[in-house]
Structures are given as C-alpha cells and as structure tokens.
C-alpha cells in the first residue's frame, strides 16, 4: 500500500484553477519529484497534502486514511512533515531548542519537555549535520545550516511522509550535494519523500519518479529520463523548436553602451542570489537573459532597478546608479515590468495606462496611448474593463503597455510568459516583434522560455545558479546550448 495516495485534486482560487485533477502514489522508501515552472501549481499540491489549503475536490489518503478536511496539525501528527522553503525560526532560542520545539507535545498542561526530548533532539541534529552549532542562535547560522535545521524539525517526529519545498534553493554546489545525501538517507530510512522543485535537473539525480506539472495540470509522469524526453515537458521548459531572428550582429556591437553591470553580487540574508555578474546593454539593443527559475534573473533586474542592495557597480549611460533610489532610477528611464505584473487590479485598463503616463503632458499621453493601442489592439477594446478580470495574457500586455506609457529608455521585462498558454505567447511575441521593429527602444528581457526569448534577441546571456555562464548570439545559443539547457 502507498504511504500517500492523492487522487483527482482540484484547487481553485476564484476563476483560476491552480491545481486541476492531480493524482499520484508515493510509497515508503521512494522519492517522487514534483516539477514544473513557477506558477504551475506544484506548491499548491504540497499545501493540499499538508492541509494548509483545502482542495475543492479530490482525496488524499495517508496509509489508507482520508485526510482531506483535517487541520494541518492533525495531518502533521498523523505522520506528515514538511520542510518549508521560507520559514521563521525562533530567533531567541538556540538551534537545539528550535529542534526541541518540534518534539513538544501539543498540550497546554505539560509545562516542561518530556524526558528524552533533549537526547532525541541532539540525535536528530547530529543526523542532519548540526552537531557543531547546537547552541548557536539561528541568526548566526549560514543559510545551509538553517535549511538543515528546518529539515531536522520536519523529521523530528519521524513522519512517514516528508514534503520538501525547493530543497536546493539558495544552496551552493557542495551544499546541494550534502543536502541530496540527507534526502537519500531519508529514503534509506523508509520515509516517503515528495520533492517540489521548478528545476528538473536538480531533482533528476535524486528522484525515483517524477511528475511534471504545467498550468495546474499533469503533463507527464514516469522516470526522470522518460519525463525529460517527454515532448510536452520540453516544450514547457524550452518552448518548442528554437528559432532565431537576430538583427545585424556587427551593428549591435558598435552601439554606445546604455547599461553596464559590473561584478555585481547580491545576497538575501545568507543565500547568494547573484555572483559577480557582468552584463552590458547597448543603446537600442534587445538583450535576453535566459535561465531557469531561481537562476537569479529577477534579482539581477531588481538590482538594476535599485530594489535590492548589491555589491559591484551598475551604470546607466555615464551615471553610476549606486545609491540611487528606485524612484529616481525609474525617472531616469529604466522601467521594469515585474514578473508579478503589479497591476492596479481594481482599476480599469484605461486607468492603469493613464497612471503610467501620469507625468506626460496631455497631448503626449494621448499620442502614446494611441500608439500602444496599435501595438496591443486587444487593450483598446478592453479599456473600461477592470484589470483583475482580464485573462493572464491580457494582464501581461497591460503591464507591458503601462510600462511603455512611461516612455522608458530601457524596458526590463521580467518573465512575461509566466503562466501563459502557448496561444497567448504567440500574440505577445508578435507584439514584441512589432515593438522592436518600429521603435528604437532598448529591451532587457528575462526568460525561462528560450523559444520566446531568442527570436527577438540581439544577444543572449545564460544565467545558471546565480552566475552568468554563457554570453553570445542567439544563433550560437541554439547550436551550443539547445540540448544542455534543461
């Protein structure tokens, strides 16, 4: 019998179907990888299993017992542990005390811990490699040790099923190896392990089976090889066959430089999100930064927009941006269209656009608006519709249009294809093509979907694990990297 059995899980948020008919079996001593790009619904599946969210339909059975509808503390005590990607440990307690917390009974009357808790906590701490830092406080630990501590807490009660969210996010190469070893140990101890990751590569060496999700649906299940060879999976990640429509390469080199990023590193607390990145964008150039989710694209853009502190230098034209506020950078002409779109959801399409063009004189605004409606005809017909009721693709177009209302010198597009259906991608791609053909605008595009990113690009950077690992022209990228990207 399976330790965990999920059938027909459905979860809707308003009109959005985040999880649509997902089911799987997970046996003891087995690692199942749940993969899919951001927004595909895999984390929601994990929350449904843990009882953090309640499914609209479907069943989850733990050792044959239905757990849907149970509060998550009951599911936890029934034998499910979860390692969160982000957690807030008790900062005033030591590592050992944090682990002991996980061993306390859920009782209002036991004011002291039971005998044996201390020994058990030490034992778990040693098992995950924390024996040297037992009495330190979490704030002083390196990031990898914090992840170990979360792992220790999750397995403290010896759960049958362990759920791990993005196990390798923010870890360096050697730490990834050590962490993988811990997860293999769990399998060896007959735990059933569910790994949730956006990256096929990182779980490939670990998982016995993989379930790939896209837009809430299952696209493939099987061994790692089977799933990676699956045509739909490849299309989801790569977007189908690679096409390039590069402009004259030589001309691109001669452009005066508009943006220079030199030796930029970014840390989130202890996790390194960018490592000594160099990048430049010439005036009028269309540069794509490709990389899987978590590679550091958004962080790079946020550094350029002044939203995160960084080491190194970023210069716009002749002006160094170090120390500039995000607002002054935006006024200077760097406009970012973020991944999450950040539309004013309760305002109409027209109001969103007008807000973007707030600083323009009335006639210039009207002119800009007319041009944008030409670029995105669908927005003209939706002018009076409230932004939240637009489809995902329309929202993305509105986000780009709003950014363009500000007449940027440099437009940064962060993952515009996120969660969009293929048909919409085509419309968006055409709009970008028109944009490139009809205006001298400079664009920096961040994408996971290579097929979307390459056709428009003059040059391509490949980000992997916080570093730029390749730079060149799209034609070469297709030839060199096409295979090894996933």
């Amino acid at each position: 019998m399976s330790a965990l059995e999920a059938r027909g899980l459905v979860k809707r948020y308003g009109g959005l179907v985040a999880v649509n008919d997902i089911g799987f079996d997970l046996r003891s001593g087995e690692i199942l990888g749940l993969i899919g790009p951001n927004g595909s619904g895999k984390s929601t599946v994990m929350k449904l299993v843990m009882g953090i969210e309640r499914p609209d339909a479907g069943s989850v059975k733990l050792d044959g017992v239905e757990t849907v509808g149970w509060p998550s503390y009951r599911i936890a005590r029934a034998g499910v542990g979860i390692v969160f990607q982000h957690s807030r440990p008790l900062h005033r307690q030591t590592v050992l005390e944090n682990i002991k917390l996980a061993l306390l009974p859920d009782s209002l009357l036991r004011l002291t811990a039971m005998a044996g808790v201390d020994d058990r906590a030490r034992e778990i701490a040693c098992a995950v490699g924390l024996s040297d830092v037992l009495h330190r406080h979490p704030a002083t630990l390196p990031f990898a040790d914090l992840r170990r501590m979360e792992m220790a807490k999750a397995i403290a009660r010896d759960p049958k099923v362990v759920l791990i969210d993005e196990p390798f996010a923010g870890l360096t190469g050697t730490e990834v190896e050590a962490f993988s070893e811990l997860i293999r140990d769990l399998r060896a101890q007959e735990h059933a392990v569910l790994l949730v990751d956006h990256n096929v590569k990182s779980v490939a060496a670990l998982a016995d089976r993989v379930l790939a999700m896209y837009l809430g649906q299952e696209v493939a299940t099987g061994t790692v090889d089977e799933v990676m060879r699956n045509e739909t999976v490849r299309r989801v990640y790569l977007g189908g066959t690679l096409e390039v429509a590069q402009r004259n390469g030589a001309a691109a080199q001669a452009r005066p430089s508009l943006l220079r990023v030199e030796d930029v590193s970014v840390f989130y607390g202890k996790a390194q999100a960018l490592e000594r990145v160099d990048l430049h964008v010439g005036e009028g150039e269309f540069v794509s930064v490709v990389g899987l989710n978590g590679a550091g694209k958004t962080t790079l853009f946020n550094a350029i927009s002044g939203l995160v502190p960084y080491a190194g230098t970023i210069a716009f034209g002749d002006r160094p941006l170090t120390g500039c506020t995000p607002a002054s950078i935006a006024r200077d002409g760097i406009v970012q269209c973020p991944e999450s779109r950040q539309l004013f959801a309760d305002m109409t399409v027209r109001e969103n656009l007008d807000l973007g063009g707030q600083h323009l004189p009335a006639d210039a605004r009207a002119e800009q608006l007319a041009w944008l409606f030409e670029l995105f005809p669908i927005l003209e017909s939706r002018q009076n519709q409230v932004a939240r009721t637009l489809s995902g693709g329309e929202q993305q177009m509105l986000a780009i249009a709003r950014a363009l209302m500000m007449r940027p010198k440099l437009l940064i597009l962060d993952e515009p294809t996120l969660g969009l259906a293929p048909v919409i991608l085509e419309q968006l791609s055409k709009a970008l093509e028109r944009l490139r053909a009809t205006t001298p605008i400079t664009v920096l595009l961040g994408e996971q979907n290579v097929t979307f990113a390459l056709p428009h690009a003059d040059r391509v950077y490949l980000l992997e694990h916080s570093r730029v690992v390749w730079e060149g022209e799209p034609a070469e990228f297709a030839a060199v990297m096409g295979e090894g990207y996933l």
Partner: protein
C-alpha cells in the same frame, strides 16, 4: 526552557521584592497609593504582553477584559454583598468567559481584524455600561460598599503580592514548553501547525490566561479604589497606556512590560504639577523609546542575546 529562571534574574527579583516590601516603612500614604495603582497596571501590561509578545496577537482591548472583571465584581458586591474575595473570583470568571467568547470567533480572523474586533469590544462594553446606567452608574461610575481594606500599607502589600505572584506565573509560563509553542504560533502559524501544534488552541489558552489575570487585577483595583468608572478602567486611553507601557518596557519579556507600566503610572504622578504638559512629556518619552529603542527599556537586559 532549561534556564527558566537564571541566577541574575533571581537575585534582581529577590532584591526588588525585598525593597518593595519594606518601602511602606518610609513612604507616605500618597506615594504608596500611586505605587499600588502602578502594580495593578503592571499586571495589565504583563497580561497583554503574553498575547502580543508571545501569541503574536495585538489585543487593542485589554480594558475589555479588565472592565468585565471590575464591573462584574462591583455589580455583584452591590447586589448581594458577598465577601470581597468571592466578588473578585466571580469578576475573574466573567473576564475569562467574556474573553473566550470574544476570542473564539475573533481568532478565526486573520491579520489586523483580530485587533479591530478587540477594539470594538471595548466600545461595546463602554456603551453597555452607559446604557444600563441604572445599575452601573453610567459615565459617573459606581461605588462599591466594600473595600479590601482602608489601610494604605495593607492595600499596598496586597497589590505587591498579587503583582509578584502574577509576574512569577506569567514569566514562568512564557519560558515553559507551552510558551515556546505559543511563540512559534505567533511567529509562523502555518509552520507551527505543520509541526503538529493546534495553534488556535494555544492562542485561545493564552487569551484565557491573559483574561484571567486582567480580570483579577481589574476587580482588585475596584476594591482598592472603592469605585468603578468608565474613565478609570475601560476608556480606550487606559488601554493605550497599558499597551505603551508594555512596548516601552520591552515586549516579549513579560517583566519589561511590568516595569514599563509602573514607570508610566509613576511618571504621570511625578509630573502632575506640570498640568497639561505632563501627558505630553510622558507621551514624548514613550515615543522616543519606541523609535530609538524598539526593544524597550528592558529588552536588552531581559532577552537572551539573539546574536551571541
């Protein structure tokens, strides 16, 4: 958890209790009166800190619980004249029941709504007292036929004893296994649930404990002052003073809020000759501490170092 009462704290506490106990030998009845009130406010702030600092719930209505205890005790005393102890016990029970009835639905709400519900509860209680003025004396207030004692020294010692016992119990609770779970629930409720803890149960328990201590303190305050009135017990301003006292002293420390609350009451008394300026200066000091020392007066001393 292991070192619930470390030695330094124990010594400091013992010295405080010793000094506080012998103070009536020198101090005037007036000063003792101020300190008596201050001790009750110390308990109010400690109870509040258990909810905010540990359970992570902002209770804007500490005076709802205090008022329930105070007015129930006062009404009972007027109606049936039972012994004062019985009045206080029933008052505490009323605060507990009222607190649970309020918290049960309120804890289902997320974010700022819990705080708003507690705020509305205070206004409701205040209005109820005014509406039923025939029994409660309305805005003027009501006197109680009995008091604990008329001896200021004895009154002072009662308050001190109650304050010390409350401090030991609440501090001990905050450092116990239950306190640890409560803190985890307050910091990351989703994770605490995933670790197998019924967060609602623990928060409700914290609310009950907070209500119980607030109710007893409120009822005792009435039998010390000999009267209960909206302005001295239930008014939003009183609640704000309790909250500021807790933050001033250092939230999440239990003992810090006690010190902060006592400081506020004493400071207001010392500065009374300044008239209107008094409130202004106290508020200014409180604001400065909150802005520049967000850990509060005792935050650094009482909280184990987070970075060591």
């Amino acid at each position: 958890m292991t070192r619930a009462f470390n030695r330094r704290l124990l010594i400091a506490g013992a010295i405080f209790v010793l000094v506080a106990t012998v103070l009536p030998l020198w101090l005037s009845a007036y000063v003792l009166g101020v300190l008596t009130t201050a001790y009750y406010f110390g308990v109010f702030s400690m109870s509040w800190d258990l909810l905010f600092g540990f359970a992570g719930e902002v209770n804007f209505g500490p005076t709802f619980l205090i008022g329930l205890g105070a007015y129930t005790a006062a009404l009972l005393d007027n109606a049936y004249h039972p012994p004062v102890v019985v009045c206080i016990a029933v008052g505490a029970l009323a605060a507990l029941v009222g607190g649970v009835l309020l918290a049960l639905p309120a804890l289902r709400l997320r974010g700022p709504y819990f705080g708003l519900v507690t705020l509305v509860a205070v206004l409701l209680l205040q209005n109820a007292i005014v509406i039923f003025a025939r029994f409660t004396g309305g805005e003027i207030g009501m006197t109680v036929p009995d008091v604990m004692t008329i001896d200021p020294k004895l009154n002072y010692w009662y308050a001190l004893a109650f304050f010390v016992v409350s401090a030991i119990l609440l501090y001990g609770l905050s450092r116990s296994a239950v306190g640890l779970i409560l803190q985890a629930s307050g910091q990351d409720a989703v994770e605490a649930q995933a670790l197998g803890f019924n967060v609602t149960k623990h928060k409700l328990a914290a609310f009950s404990v907070s209500a119980l201590f607030s109710g007893v303190a409120g009822a005792m305050l009435v039998f010390y002052m000999g009267a209960a009135s909206v302005g001295t017990i239930i008014d939003i301003g009183i609640g704000v003073q309790i909250i500021i006292g807790a933050v001033l002293g250092g939230r999440r420390t239990i003992l810090g809020p006690a010190v902060g609350a006592i400081f506020l009451v004493v400071a207001a008394e010392v500065l009374r000759p300044l008239g209107q300026l008094n409130t202004f200066i106290v508020a200014g000091v409180a604001l400065a501490v909150i802005l520049f020392f967000p850990d509060g007066l005792l935050g650094h001393v009482l909280r184990p170092r987070e970075n060591a």
